[in-house]
Symmetry: C2
Subunit: 230 residues, 2 copies
Amino acid sequence: MSADISLAVSTAIFALRPHPDTGLSALWIPLVRRTRDPFENRWALPGGWVSPDESLSDAAARNLLETTGVEPTYLEQLYAFGAVDRSPDRRVVSIVYWALVRPEQADAATDGDNVRWFLADDLPELAFDHNLIVDYALWRLRTKMEYSRIAHAFLGPTFTLTELREVHEAVLQRPLDPANFRRQVEPTLVATETLVTGGRHRPPRLYRYDESVRLVDNGPLTIATPRSTP
Amino acid sequence: MSADISLAVSTAIFALRPHPDTGLSALWIPLVRRTRDPFENRWALPGGWVSPDESLSDAAARNLLETTGVEPTYLEQLYAFGAVDRSPDRRVVSIVYWALVRPEQADAATDGDNVRWFLADDLPELAFDHNLIVDYALWRLRTKMEYSRIAHAFLGPTFTLTELREVHEAVLQRPLDPANFRRQVEPTLVATETLVTGGRHRPPRLYRYDESVRLVDNGPLTIATPRSTP
DNA sequence: GCACTTAGGGTCAGGGTGACTACAACTCGG
DNA sequence: CCGAGTTGTAGTCACCCTGACCCTAAGTGC
């Protein structure tokens, strides 16, 4: 049996905010300061223990809300980390999730002594194996960006093509040709009638995602494992 | 804390063997018969409890060997299943792995009352949520076949292009053009000097994988989480 | 020697991609 | 009110990858 193994969930949360140097959108991640040993005062991913009456994704969502005040628009399991020595005092297996939030939702997690936002590509030394975990989560986010539709988790229901392109550029860290980008994503979108005026240029059209276009995602798990709390 | 959650590992093992009807290679999976409740007498994925002094992948490999006698050439974590009601009597979280074995290794797991090989695409109703798990594992195998190099886990160190192509055909369940297939995979291979004579046709050349060609795989986890027991 | 079978090299048309050009349509400064 | 500035959107073109297809190479077996 395995009663002496503790089961935890942690989540790597990503949000887009301006980079302090360039002003361009960049990936940020909220971390919590540990208030006890091991790794007291080190920054760590938000997380906690799984209680017996909640699913893993529910536990992740609950811990997220409790520790950082964040309610994500996207939540997916990343990996189960279970090396014997990953916690110095006892055996902990962590089911790690990754989440995407919109800027407004991110603001719910106000910086404070206990929660602080960091640039995802420039983190301090974290507690446990959390640096490795964030690296892996970043890799998954960037890989998945290329073939799936997760970018929309950073945006509202409607958006301009430039907004969508800037999400891709921020995550992939390279500029994309506006015309070519349009050609590629337009088949998965539906144009609305609305144009956004007010900019000092030609007003862009608002788009929404075309729900009828199915993309490869998580295969059989896509429908099979919905969150029990919507 | 989480002492009342049991932590298990299970593994979906794949091997290629001839299909009884067509004679072509097909995917087979070994299952074990449950000897106690819940789901007594139902077929299930091999698995067992994680002990506190072994990593998750070690636990998977050990359980594999104990229950089916199989030592895989490839072992990768699939997903952590943790729905509250997936086991009727108590709360079990299962870290599921998937494995690939060569035919010789597969023969170690002789069919018997307790272990039997099934066609992966034609399974009976399994215990727990194991049908969903196998579906997901199959999806991952087939998806990964297209962009990675896992096919080699079904083969020895050297192989002909036809052997490699037949592995792809068996997994993807569709015929591939030999000439086009060669063009696509040859850049990742090294030709040996050896030709295989004895067939009633032009002798094919043996190839081996080019270790210097890096493919996208599991990102940061590729090197970071090796099995502790090699 | 000839039929047969698979190995392996080549061609060609079509689709997608990146680089680039051109025009459209708004705001703002004068 | 007009032109400059800026971004949105359409289109072109060369290139590469792909699938479909053809052809020759080189063994075995009769």
